[in-house]
Symmetry: C2
Subunit: 250 residues, 2 copies
């Protein structure tokens, strides 16, 4: 039986955001490894890390995976990623590409084949991802389950998404890579651009209503993420900001 | 969002064979309903039925499904089914069609669209299906997971298979049904034919070695199941047996 290329395993990570139950962390590690993947990051796990319950439930899997990355913020986990996906059960009032698990898997397989690093975010058990966390993602994933009974536990969500990606990679037709394939900039570049833009807009009095500011920033983020700018384009964008500021200063 | 036709839900059942843990039965019910299906049969559940642990774990799901069918033998559960699939982690030394989850899902979607009733068998947690139980199936399903870490719990297996079938049904291209589509005979007809054949072969001294008899019968079953005979063909086969017997008797 075929197995997934090590390069693809290296370039994929699942990120559990504020997971509450150690059992679910362990079961998620197992689900990931069942599908041949091995990179798991934990953002502020409720019971800290290491967590004996996670170790017990994941037993057997942890020994075959690198230790999970532990971070305080999603932003720190996704540095270097070229595309970030957020899983969500609810539809959001934010302008983002929404994909089914299957569609996302095809997209991820294509990006992995093009050498891109990608991350999939999974929210906390009850609350899911916050709007701020979702805003970090380029695309959303919603698994089209029975709408009258759609609640999955965390590890089951990880399993279904990882399974779809595995199958997409294993069944992917070998297509020649386009010479013109656009490689989006790594996440930190976008992040810096967004921070700078926000700062400059703040100074310029762009945010008239303090209440509306978070929503406005989310929309800006979504717009910029959707553009999937290359590193060169990001430099250009910085140039534009610099130019506009200096013009205004004159 | 689309939902699966009620007719397809009615014609699909998951069959848990000798499940040991009530928790897994409850979680399997949830997984099935997550994917829009609602028929679950239990063959000799270890802790009997009703089982408070299964009820607690499946809570919310049981109220939206018909009560599970409880049987003493797989054979009794699959009466009326036109095609039976057995899930298996191991490769078997038996001549049967082996499908991946995806391939099985396509096949099942096609059969459901043609009005056929189908069943998928899931074995006990540790031991899986016995050879006798596997021999009852027309086709085997093996999910192509990471071979170095492939063990799934029962409910996760149910989830992946049901999810693949759901997606196959939801994404299925609407193709006109062939006028010549072959409808295989219901399970009980095959069963009767096999019993009769075995009996007649026994009388005829066909089974020289008592040790080899079970294996020989499994191979016969596999052959006959693979043929997917129609009701008419089964009647013809009975006619052949009768003819051969009477000839011998002469």
């Amino acid at each position: 039986m075929q197995e997934i290329d090590q390069q693809f395993k290296d370039h994929f990570k699942a990120v559990l955001v504020r997971p509450q139950m150690g059992e679910n962390i362990g079961a998620s590690a197992r689900a990931l490894l069942n599908c041949g993947f091995e990179n798991l990051d934990l953002i502020n796990p409720r019971d800290g890390w290491p967590d004996p319950k996670a170790e017990a439930m994941g037993s057997g899997a942890w020994q075959k995976m690198p230790p999970p990355g532990i971070f305080n913020a999603v932003k720190d986990s996704i540095q270097g990623c070229r595309h970030v996906y957020a899983t969500t059960a609810r539809s959001r009032d934010i302008q983002k590409n929404v994909l089914t698990g299957r569609e996302a898997a095809e997209d991820i397989a294509e990006r992995l084949s093009g050498g891109q690093k990608i991350a999939v975010l999974f929210g906390a058990e009850r609350t899911g991802l916050t709007n701020d966390e979702t805003a970090l993602a380029h695309s959303l994933i919603t698994i089209p389950l029975n709408q009258e009974f759609s609640s999955l536990n965390l590890a089951q969500s990880v399993l279904l998404i990882a399974y779809d990606i595995r199958m997409a990679l294993l069944t992917r037709r070998e297509e020649p890579l386009s010479q013109n394939a656009i490689i989006p900039a790594p996440y930190q570049d976008i992040d810096l651009l967004l921070s700078r833009l926000e700062e400059e807009l703040e100074k310029a009095g762009f945010f008239r209503s303090k209440d509306l500011k978070p929503k406005t920033i989310h929309n800006l983020k979504s717009m910029i993420l959707r553009a999937e700018m290359t590193e060169q384009e990001i430099r250009t964008f910085h140039g534009i900001i610099s130019a506009l500021i200096s013009k205004k200063a004159q």
